[in-house]
């Protein structure tokens, strides 16, 4: 969901169709993703959604630098999700937006919302001020683990206090879109190597819209170096790939499409069919319709896991 009006000239590099499905602007005049009836008609009804997770992106409280405004914006965004969406549509669930750069306030907001089971995950920015595994964010992870809520990480266009690459902003949107992958790799590596999952073994992290085909290569590389660098990170009791397998989930959209579709099957075999969740990205331009977007063979059991069972096991929907 995006609560901000976007035009193609507001930002650089230019996003495809200003980031939105060209048919997702409500006739009521609001921005894409602002109209419940249209959401039902374009997504919830035709693809038979049983549970849909809202991800309130835009400039929520996650990246706001004014601490009091960040806290107020987060509270408002969270209340709005319930009032405007979940209360009116029982298939929807909310994600707790937190003022992530102010962990104490973020913890308060998690504790305020978590008892309400209509919130099923905690949203964090993919471009925090420090690498996400930094200890100053640990109170947030502690609160998430205590509440039993997964953390969802979804890229937000041109968000964050840093350029999207270590050497500055990309020139083209194609570059920018690819950089989501590098960003996710850095997030996963930071969480693993800085010891977050060693300290919070039951913490669950869902990487949204960052692909997943890179995961085996990252794991092999980290494991290989781990043997040589072990004395630098003695707080890690297991191989990096063990944490990747235990604490991290991936979503499908936009799914990688190798020329030989069986190659993607091999990658999912490596990751595990129980770690991948269907995601739509509605109302963004690269929306994935489940009837069209999976161009590789799946068994009925594999299909059920990706579209249903994995999410039911991960999130508290009932």
């Amino acid at each position: 969901m995006c609560g901000r009006r976007l035009t193609s000239t507001q930002m650089h590099p230019r996003m495809m169709a200003a980031g939105m499905r060209a048919d997702s602007r409500p006739s009521s005049g609001g921005p894409p993703g602002s109209d419940l009836e249209l959401l039902r008609r374009q997504h919830l009804d035709p693809v038979n959604v049983e549970f849909g997770l809202l991800m309130a992106l835009s400039k929520g409280g996650m990246e706001e630098r004014n601490p009091d405004f960040a806290a107020a914006l987060s509270r408002a965004t969270n209340d709005w999700q319930i009032d405007h969406w979940v209360r009116q549509e029982p298939r929807l669930r909310a994600g707790i937006v937190v003022p992530q750069e102010f962990p104490e306030t973020a913890v308060s907001e998690i504790e305020r919302c978590a008892p309400d089971r209509r919130y099923v995950q905690i949203m964090l920015s993919t471009r925090p001020t420090d690498p996400l595994g930094n200890r100053r964010y640990w109170p947030i992870f502690e609160a998430a683990e205590r509440a039993g809520l997964p953390i969802g990480l979804h890229p937000i266009g041109y968000n964050g206090g840093h350029p999207s690459t270590g050497s500055g902003w990309p020139t083209f949107y194609l570059q920018e879109h690819y950089v989501f992958v590098a960003c996710m790799e850095a997030l996963a590596a930071s969480l693993i190597i800085e010891g977050v999952f060693e300290r919070f073994p039951n913490l669950k992290v869902v990487l949204v819209e960052g692909g997943f085909a890179w995961a085996p290569a990252l794991a092999w590389r980290m494991d290989q170096h781990f043997e040589k660098f072990r004395k630098e990170v003695p707080h890690l009791k297991r191989r990096p790939s063990d944490y990747l397998r235990q604490n991290i989930w991936w979503t499908t959209q936009p799914i990688e499409e190798p020329p030989q579709s069986r190659h993607i099957v091999e990658i999912i075999d490596w990751i595990g069919w129980d770690r991948l969740l269907y995601s739509s990205d509605y109302p963004h331009w690269d929306y994935d319709n489940p009837s069209f977007s999976f161009k590789f063979p799946m068994t009925e059991e594999q299909r059920r896991k990706i579209f249903r069972d994995n999410a039911l096991a991960l999130y508290r929907f009932q």
Binding site: D23, F292, S293
Partner: protein, 137 residues
């Protein structure tokens, strides 16, 4: 094959399009600078209602620093993933080998021919003196 009258030709001037449902199937009919095109309203790539997409040209280049917009108005661009289809042929510019947009035959016919023939007028009483847009399914 069955032929269906979509509308009087005057209701589809250049620069306009019309979405009609014939036999349960949605068909988009376009008048682009006088050229008529009709397609099933489903993108063969990702399933979007493609007939709501923009009509565009091709962004071409011989190398970095050279950019030209060519063949304006000849392509229909999907509202979701932006795949471009050549309207004259239905050929996908992204995946010409495997993906094709299904063209529907569409013509401008004189009312005097239609009142005699085996046509199905969906919503319009056909008058001899007018011209009509007709699709062939």
């Amino acid at each position: 094959m069955s032929r269906h009258v979509v509308c009087p030709a005057a209701e589809l001037p250049p620069g306009t399009r019309k979405l009609v449902t014939i036999g349960g199937r949605e068909i988009g009919v376009f008048n682009v600078d006088g050229r008529l095109h009709a397609f099933h309203n489903r993108c063969p790539h990702g399933g979007a209602a493609i007939c709501s997409g923009l009509i565009v040209g091709l962004s071409q280049s011989s190398g970095p620093g050279d950019y030209r917009l060519e063949r304006r108005g000849e392509f229909l661009r999907c509202p979701w993933h932006g795949w471009e289809f050549e309207m004259a042929t239905g050929q996908s510019w992204c995946d010409p080998r495997r993906t094709r947009l299904r063209n529907v035959e569409v013509k401008r016919e004189a009312g005097s021919d239609l009142v005699m023939g085996p046509y199905v007028a969906e919503r319009y009483p056909v008058e001899v003196e007018d011209a009509y847009i007709v699709v062939d399914l």
